[in-house]
Symmetry: C2
Subunit: 263 residues, 2 copies
């Protein structure tokens, strides 16, 4: 069973890619919707929340853990790998790998949350893989609320993308979308950076890495595997967006509590 | 001692108004920066977090509690009033009171987070006070991230304000800013709704109510009272914005943990 956690709903696109690539593998997804977003918070807090999430999923018996959230991957991956008894996969390295393979020797840019970019995780991974730092690494804080508001096209989305990225038009061979929400803004981002820049979705890339590492569950039959969806805030609003992000309507969404009451 | 809590930094404007109005009263402020924002979360989660915050402040010995966050006021005020042994003040009623007094019989509008507007708290308070529901009650989810990004003027802020509020130009006598972040966008909001609409800041209004209720600390001397600032995420970034919101540089900001580790 593969466990996937994210700060909220964005990681469902990662889950979707994993399910498509490993159709016989049972999965369990945890969205920390009561504490979302992680991208504006400190490394200390993101590491604490990531430990809570990982701990819950391990108690459910996962044999493999995917950190779908870029900010959690950037801050907490090393800690989780050092402390957990199962393989842990983040989205940073797969995203960088996909970018380098697609445009070898090309000029690479990366965009993400304030936390992801400040961590330097993408910058280090790109330099480790290519020998040079990225051409640009930039935080775009309004992209997440813009995608959540559903204003993914039109003049406001275009103006915000232009303000963050307008100076990069024609200057990159590949731009890594280092946040699971950003693919929702793919068309306005592409418009601003120009048609010769390839956009790489880190979240989608992790499914390929996982498929190479994972041995499918023994005794896989034609019976579909079980999939569970857990959230930390009440599931009502979550269910509405699951269908859009996941591409299918979930049977049910369960609520879990990561914070014992102090009251 | 007056305790004030907020989901993050916005409530510092409320604290500032209280300190100006009650200069001899010691205060303690708690910003739940590790779990901010509240405006996108469910009533259940906001009530749980509000209880955590209130409980911590009561253990510090506050004799009066101010819920500076509009979303927490909207969802949790009744619960806190029923359960706590000290007077509890929210920002909804003072905001409505100030709006009605400023424009008696006028057309009232209110804007706030998705949670605040969905709660109906402002709508009920306006109807209770005037006998009629507000002319309009509307969520403006992008205003908080916009203010936090610091884009409080210019074409992007204007376009977003126009999209949310453009149809209200000239149609209101008073508009309640039902979120502590919104006063930072005051000038673009005023531009869009037109010069004849008075903007009322709910946060500033609560200081007046408090001053009327509070008996200043006995034995007040010329010695300045103690003020403490607590946060749940690491205080580094918080200190940067405290000065802007509070109008003075704080001596120090302390970190507290509301969530015992489950790890």
């Amino acid at each position: 069973m593969i466990g996937v956690f994210d700060s909220g709903v964005g990681g469902l696109t990662v889950l979707r890619a994993i399910r498509q690539r490993l159709p016989h593998e049972p999965t369990i997804y945890l969205g920390d919707t009561a504490r979302v977003p992680y991208g504006t918070k400190s490394p200390e807090v993101v590491i604490r929340y990531s430990r809570n999430n990982a701990s819950l999923l391990l108690r459910q018996g996962v044999q493999m853990l995917v950190v779908a959230c870029n900010t959690a991957s950037a801050h907490a991956l090393e800690v989780l790998r050092a402390e957990l008894p199962v393989p842990v996969f983040g989205v940073v390295e797969p995203g960088v790998e996909a970018a380098v393979r697609a445009r070898p020797g090309g000029r690479i840019g990366v965009i993400g949350t304030a936390g992801t970019i400040a961590s330097g995780a993408y910058q280090r991974a790109i330099e480790a893989r290519t020998g040079t730092p990225p051409t640009v690494a930039r935080a775009c804080p309004l992209f997440v609320p813009l995608a959540e508001e559903g204003w993914t096209e039109g003049p406001i989305a275009e103006a915000i993308a232009e303000r963050y990225l307008g100076d990069l038009r024609g200057k990159l061979d590949v731009l890594i979308l280092g946040c699971t929400h950003y693919p929702l803004l793919r068309s306005v981002i592409q418009e601003v950076v120009g048609p010769n820049t390839l956009l790489v979705d880190s979240g989608a890339s992790v499914a390929e890495v996982l498929a190479a590492e994972a041995t499918e569950a023994k005794g896989a039959t034609d019976r579909p595997p079980t999939h569970r969806l857990l959230v930390t805030d009440v599931p009502a609003r979550f269910e509405e967006v699951v269908t859009r992000f996941l591409g299918e309507r979930p049977e049910r969404v369960e609520q879990v509590d990561l914070e014992p009451s102090l009251w």
